[in-house]
Amino acid sequence: MTEATLETGPVPASGAPPHPIVEFWRYFRGNPGAVGGLVVILAVLLLAVFADVVAPHSPVVTDQNAFLKPPVWQEGGSWTYPLGTDAIGRDMLSRLIHGARYSLVIGLAVVAISVLLGVVLGLIAGFAGGIVEIAIMRLMDIVLTMPSLLLAIVIVAILGPGLMNAMLAVAIVVLPHYVRLTRAAVLTELARPYVTAARVAGAGTLRLMFRTVLPNCMAPLIVQASLGISTAILDAAALGFLGLGAQPPAPEWGTMLADAREFVLRAWWVVTLPGIMILVTVLAFNLLGDGLRDALDPKLKR
């Protein structure tokens, strides 16, 4: 719909550049992978929002007569549980659908936390310079040198296992990327004449930070953030797999995998399906991120 409107919309007068958003959409649309990713993400989003309506069962209610029932197309399966049940008789399909909520929330929350913190730290480092900058950047180096999963495990161990803490741990682990990115962008922008001009015009540091410089380094941040969602989902799932992420009975996909590991020889569906969900969702975000980068990065445009 939107697409159609844009296409038939008034053609800008020749010579005048198209509105940036329109231009962005053109590039983006030309990338079938990115559009595919977007479609999948929208589908997952719909599943998450309407999980209560779509899912045939509750994700946590157990059926004591149906432990480890196979999917419908296999012998012993039934339409009651189209994708089978897990070890304590919960409907796999419903759990997978509800799991979408967790993964999306994890992805978005982690990125939100790390972008916010990262931008603030990066701005401070870029503007303050001197000892503050050195301290912040060294700290980020240290975090980067620690094996990231190990650091996340330790943080979760300190805070206690759980979804919130796992998200926090992942956010801390990915933080340095945003700090570095922001600082680098700030340093580039600060050298530009328009910043000097704004300074001369008497803009305060805060205004300079958020109104003048930040909007101009948004592009790389958006790209990094969209790719960061997929990293966040993967890392949180890995923590879940090690028993440190979302806690049962929450149907988070990584946690489901951890729970199902012992049945790998006996019930393939409890092991395979959550993994496929993770893979598809992460892949979709990566495709989207790639598309965004191509559309936003002027260097790659031609």
Partner: protein
Amino acid sequence: MTRTLLTTISAVAFALAAATAGAKTLVYCSEGSPENFYPAINTTGTSFDANSQVYSRIVDFERGGTQVVPGLAERWDISEDGTVYTFYLRKGVKWHDTQKHFKPTRDLNADDIIFSIERQWKESNPYYKVTSSNHSYFNDMNMPKLLKSVEKVDDYTVRITLNQPEAPFLSDLAMEYAAIISKEYADAMLKAGTPERVDQEPVGTGPFYLVQYQKDAVIRYKAWPKFWGGKAKIDDLVFAITPDASVRWAKLQKGECHVMPYPNPADLDAIRKDPNVQLLEQPGLNVGYIAYNTTKKPFDDKRVRQALNMAINKKAIVDAVFLGSGVPAKNPIPPTIWSYDDSIEDYPYDPERAKKLLAEAGYPNGFETDLWAMPVQRPYNPNARRIAELAQADLAKIGVTAKIVSYEWGEYRKRAQNGEHLMAQLGWTGDNGDPDNFLHTLLGCDSAKSNGSNIAKWCFKPFDDLVVEAKRVSDQAKRAELYKKAQRIFHEEAPWFVIAHSVQYKPVRKEVIDFKLSPFGRHTFYGVDLK
């Protein structure tokens, strides 16, 4: 020149290979790496399995049972009042002479016995702190308070005097922590300035000696030809360290190992069907339970406790979580222990009656409670969270809202022992096969105080009197009677929802002869043969 040397080497290698071809090698797929080779500081069955092949003890448990039989001591006397034990040692017991840095010059004697005990007991002993001074079991078995003196009567006689009679004392000495190590070796290493070597390159008097240990990979032993009980029937013993249960099973199936512990319950069906494998099974010496905090409302009312006992579907838990690797429990001690009272009838699963009982107690609409689940897998409880989830669903049906709570494992135990919970899961694995080790340790008044292992905080005089008396009597029949009475009281008062005793399964390949299950869950390979 080089060439001839090479051919000689390969010729030797070939000869070795030929010699070992006829050797009987038993491979055991163990579940993890041992902590080290000093049993007195070990706490895990994995470590005990690894070092009990190497060492002997004063007395032993019979293979496949809990009866105490002679070990390094041929026989013993116990004084009338039950406080003086005199042990008469075997003569001509040879120490392993297979380590690089030490060759024994004498047989085992009383000095070794005294040294092995004092090393864990007296801080003045130069070896008290070597490797570690954390002698867990020695302390857990209350030895520092129990022991009065350990004396050498002559080279082959040792006298141990206790401060008070303790019926399970002999069983305590048969446990792995009481392994006997060589004083001569210890002295020599102390002189050489490398005392830790005693615990890294173990010299024992056991049926096998250690050849090689690679962390997380393999332990190799060879049969000790001069073992006091006669050489083992197998020649080589290999522990293939394989932490993943499904993987162990895959290896056993392929014939890459002969015996494996802790199969994945999900694989049991397949194991039963395999024609090359025999599945041994026995209820383990353990119990898993949910303890009600009897000092807090509403669980100070026994009707509430009984009601909850009827509200939780035990069979469903055992089916779904233990997957057939557990038997529903009704008593606080496992059925393999003497004095187990089989005549007791368990609470039925009956939500209706439970509801009524709750109403009688003044909770017609139920109440809110917490339900603790430990964060780790234990031998008596394969998945505490899953049990909590199932119990939570059952309790909801009678109006009780349970919130699942968990803490880091050390923290969990500490908080539970402080009685911070309303309902908490925990369990126990028996140490020495004595009922005292369950009934007094887990339910006596002594341990109901803060920090004690009675996490129901249940101090009930009539029960406590029985189990304390049973500690002082040495006649087993009489003790059994006391313990049976105690189990009746336990049933009526219901301080726990007893979940299950996990069954130990041991898939063993058919070519293995005479492997016996140990009620303690240990793996003894002396006496085992291969076809």
